[in-house]
Symmetry: C2
Subunit: 369 residues, 2 copies
Amino acid sequence: MKKFNIAKSRRLRSTPYSSRIESQGVTAYTIYNHMLLPAAFGSLEDLYHHLKEHVQIWDVAAERQVEISGPDSYKLVQLMTCRDLSKSKIGRCYYCPIIDDNGGMINDPVILKLKEDKWWISIADSDVILFAKGLAIGNKLNVKITEPNVNILAVQGPKSFKLMEKIFGKKITEMKFFGFDYFEFAGDKHLIARSGWSKQGGYEIYVEHTKSGLQLYDKLFDEGKEFNVKPGCPNLIERIESGLLSYGNDIDNEDNPYECGLDKYVNVNSDINFLGKDKLIQYNKNGIKKKLMGVKIESDSISITETIEIYDNNENHIGELRSGVYSPHFNKVIGIAMLKKPNWDTGTKIKININGKSVNGTVCDLPFI
Amino acid sequence: MKKFNIAKSRRLRSTPYSSRIESQGVTAYTIYNHMLLPAAFGSLEDLYHHLKEHVQIWDVAAERQVEISGPDSYKLVQLMTCRDLSKSKIGRCYYCPIIDDNGGMINDPVILKLKEDKWWISIADSDVILFAKGLAIGNKLNVKITEPNVNILAVQGPKSFKLMEKIFGKKITEMKFFGFDYFEFAGDKHLIARSGWSKQGGYEIYVEHTKSGLQLYDKLFDEGKEFNVKPGCPNLIERIESGLLSYGNDIDNEDNPYECGLDKYVNVNSDINFLGKDKLIQYNKNGIKKKLMGVKIESDSISITETIEIYDNNENHIGELRSGVYSPHFNKVIGIAMLKKPNWDTGTKIKININGKSVNGTVCDLPFI
């Protein structure tokens, strides 16, 4: 597997934490929302084991916010997602498929309701702000749409609760999953949500005040020593085992939410008005032709840089592998694949080609663990 | 200057040429429109000198196309740009600022008119397709918006004309700058434009037929031997010397076209209807408060990974440096800077900090050469 440098420039935006993570040993980056997102600090497996046992601090500033405020803000946010937000509450996070008029996925953000007329769409990797602006202009909606200077720090892992309690007090451990509230640090109020892109538990700190945010960054490492804190980043092994989907990897604009297994976030039977509703009603009625599933593959390594085609035992093309990694837990490769009907049943035998060698695999449910 | 690997995945899309350029020695990538764009093949300076003398083949598939077709396609394309396209001709390319309702830059593509009702917007690095979809949905325009499977190969450098003539015949040398036409190769018609992101002359081949496109890729290297052909990529030195602007580096959504020196592409006095027209009329009337200019800096190296602040001799903040590189031609650093009024006059003295050392510079016009 050849390695290539990333050519940095202003266009690939740095984060307030970049200089810190670079002195802490980041070794690889990916680009996400035109911004640097750390992708490795040495061994992926070491950090995987560490994440499941201790606590990590992640620079996930690349999870940008699209702020939508103003009298028509609910109308616009609801227009963009098939999830019913009519009963949504201030102080809660909502995982929402964002879809276009064909029902195709455009993003799968977490949406935070800050006020009745102020929302943050915490986006995956696509320019949702441009979609929102286009829709608002075209529909003459009275909204303000901006990308605020918010740079998220994630605190992830089972010991994140103890670490955050040490800094912010008992109250932070009482917050429910996908709730958020404001906590003071160094004279500023910081929005903190109980969320994060791992299934090991933790928090995301939406840092609006960069100066105190950087003090908080350092404080987390100081106070975290007793919990064996380390710098980290979203971990490919952990996120696939947990079945966390990645827009652009597992999902793209050619997929609808049903095909992605997001049925519970599609409210076609509600009264709400959203883009692509007619199309989704049709998909719901007529069924889908492909489906995102887990696969287990008899191999001890894989490196996915683009789609890998999937075949059945008779060399028929039956789908494509979109993400994959060696899992120490299963002692084989696990992955996320889009499989064509009727090949998505659990237990279906598959074949893929890894480095010129045909290997066997089996379809399974998501998540793996 | 620390180096970091790029963490590849399906989300950072490969191009049809990726395996070829990797065997040809690409050493660094950037990400552009969620796709791999080669950024270095070893020495930047060596390739700069080579580009100015010989011919290079560039994998610029990351210049994606947004295809807009249908009865309202002209209406939508015109709505997005302040350049008057009412008299545009089939077979021509148009450099067009795309702006939002505030007059802020969203992209600066080249737009190709393929038919009266079919356009390709050949985009810089932002998801223009989402802006176009939002506008089309909101305005109920009868258009089809897609990202076609087009992967551009650029043939750049003074010997590109001889090389292309050898393959496609005399006709291709008769094409005017920013014209395009169709040329046959290996049984397929390929759209070829006389354009490219250098000022050394050349062509861009809009490859829609991947199989014959790959044959053409190999043919260009075979036939190019006598012209000293090499694989290359947009060259930072050459593009800054030539004053070619880069969206995300030199320009962003906080800038309007006048501030970027794109006055000749802003047709506020025409009858056409475009977004942000009211705002641009105001800017035109009241003048601007900042302006993109060249700067020459007394240093023999620079590495810009984010904005570098610019001061005057009295430590007043007067602007920001957005791109920069050491130029062998000028034997100093040259760069592109956004300067606040009234500090943008040619000859204005500036100071910036490079690696902890204060260095002097001077404002100058763009392009440098």
